[in-house]
């Protein structure tokens, strides 16, 4: 009649286990397990007694162990370039809110667009047996595809996808977005439009560039490679890009800039203003994303909006659905970007003063 030789818990200092509860309640661990998980038949009387003991002993079932028995840990991994970027923090908020509704927690990982670090995280998350992974990837090669497949975990892409890779993807039509931004400028009368962009190996960048080129072509405006300027990701990068643009002598100078994310746009605006140009009188600027920054910057930034929060919600919904169906999912949700016109764009007044 001694089911197991275990260390006792006289002080309550050590972790209390299901055995402690069983013993204190005078039942078997099976019964305790049943009341905890609300399954099987247990008399109301025992159930209550067990629950009382659980409370008295301040017992918390160990999910980590139950996960051993085939259950999952209800945890998702979320890999993004940088949580301190408002674009991603908004996505994460949506994802976490949605995860919570389903009982999942989310592990955040900042990759800084470093594919090496991305891989490290992926491996580590696999060892921790997360149920699924949401990835805003910096990779686009076929190598990474194999890596992902060998992971054996459902992976969903958010915002950035690996072209041709079949799995859940929730993205925006970046080609269209690039087109909309450029077209807006063209419609205003601009013909000399520069493009500031994140590194072009990132899919979203090349797509937005395509949209930009398409709009130009459609309007019969020549595409000038020297006006396409890839930089980094942040405000400082936009600032430097703008400085460089002003420094280089161009004839004519651009009267408008399409910056392929809001931070680049804001950095550019700061540089332009410091150089004595006013926005939008001297130069129009369009951003991309529609982060909170757009409404705060002066002038408020015209931008191409992505539904960030909803995107976070959508991937998580799709991913969890796939997880619970034991599948890996393959929906490709392409959201429509929307042009939001604010005060950073206007008709070109005159050539940029030199």
């Amino acid at each position: 009649m001694k089911p197991r030789e275990r260390q006792k818990n006289p002080t309550g200092s050590e972790k209390v286990t299901i055995y402690d509860i069983a013993e204190a309640a005078g039942v078997s661990i099976a019964t305790v397990s049943k009341v905890i998980n609300n399954r099987g038949r247990v008399s109301e009387q025992t159930r209550e007694r067990v629950l009382r003991i659980i409370r008295e002993l301040n017992y918390a079932p160990n999910r980590i162990t139950s996960a051993l028995g085939g259950k999952s840990m209800y945890t998702l991994g979320l890999l993004i370039p940088d949580i301190s970027n408002p674009f991603y923090s908004e996505i994460v908020r949506g994802a976490e809110d949605c995860g919570r509704k389903w009982g999942y927690n989310v592990l955040i990982c900042n990759t800084d667009n470093d594919t090496r670090r991305e891989m490290d995280y992926l491996l580590s998350l696999r060892e921790k047996r997360v149920d699924g992974i949401i990835l805003a990837t910096a990779s686009n090669t076929d190598t990474r595809r194999e890596d992902l497949e060998s992971l054996g975990i459902p992976v969903a892409f958010i915002s950035r996808e690996i072209p041709g890779f079949e799995s859940i993807r929730v993205i925006v039509d970046n080609f269209r977005g690039g087109y909309l931004a450029t077209r807006h400028l063209i419609d205003l009368g601009h013909r000399n439009i520069a493009l500031f962009t994140e590194p072009l190996n990132i899919v979203t960048s090349s797509e937005r560039l395509r949209g930009y080129a398409e709009a130009l072509q459609e309007a019969g405006i020549p595409y000038r490679p020297e006006w396409v300027r890839p930089g980094g990701f942040g405000v400082e990068s936009g600032y430097r890009l703008a400085e460089a643009l002003l420094r280089d002598s161009h004839d004519p100078m651009p009267t408008a800039v399409f910056a392929a994310n809001d931070q680049l746009a804001i950095g550019a605006i700061q540089a332009f203003k410091e150089a004595g140009h006013s926005i939008p009188e001297d130069i129009s600027v369009v951003g991309f994303d529609n982060t909170i920054l757009c409404t705060i910057v002066d002038p408020p930034l015209t931008t191409v909006a992505q539904p960030m929060y909803d995107m976070g919600v959508k991937v998580v919904n799709l991913l969890i659905e796939a997880i619970q169906n034991e599948g890996s999912g393959s929906e490709r949700i392409v959201l429509e970007p929307k042009l939001v016109v604010r005060r950073s764009t206007a008709k070109p007044k005159s050539p940029l003063p030199r």
Copy 2:
């Protein structure tokens, strides 16, 4: 000579376990475990063979199971009001960066300052046996103290503490911060200074209020309760607070506002501008935190800076140290806030036009 009756892995489709490796390498699972964890003595030859097999079979040790054997999951829980608030996303970035250096992952939880949800998360994290918890709490009652103690997990406070609760705390001297902001305004010549603040039950708010009051008193300026206006947390709340201030007839009207966080300050600036007042000519505004928003808003916001990123790094360092020493830690790190003067504050020109 059959160590265990296990399902085989002919297709490689099922998860490969340490047994599969052991069998394929012709050694015992103990040996495999040794090479994985780099402990005990294993001949170079076997080690290499095992490693090769591991690679061939694409094996990933199951951390979740090893955690059963007394190890930890190397995971931290991080509870904050809202990740989409730049103040917190910066802290989280610091925390995650630091966690990664130590090999820890972090689970983010958005509480929205809801103490109920905070508790739910706490309980859930305990069941998942996180190694430690970092908390920017919305609670300040003694009840919560018991809850936290009964958790049996090291808890570290970031930014907001529960007064008198012994544990790791990394905070800023909010009293001093409130004083600095108000003092700055007074030094500029303002005597009619309103205070916009988060709800006063939050410790940081009441401390900043104390600082505000102290500065007033020191300058012999009467404290006017009707000028202390608690609101919510976001930009819209600041906007509404400012609207209300303008609406209420005050004689004299405040010539300056100390908004106890940047978002409130920015909302206030927007409202003031829309009402036709210019900043800082008509009204000076000081914020708190020094988020990225300060440099973007127009005019750039004078604020009281907190070292957000470093605070994230510091808590995690302290917490992990405590975890690894099996202790719970009790350091109270109080950082000095620093006034950052930008262009949203100036000498009062004249009474606010009515």
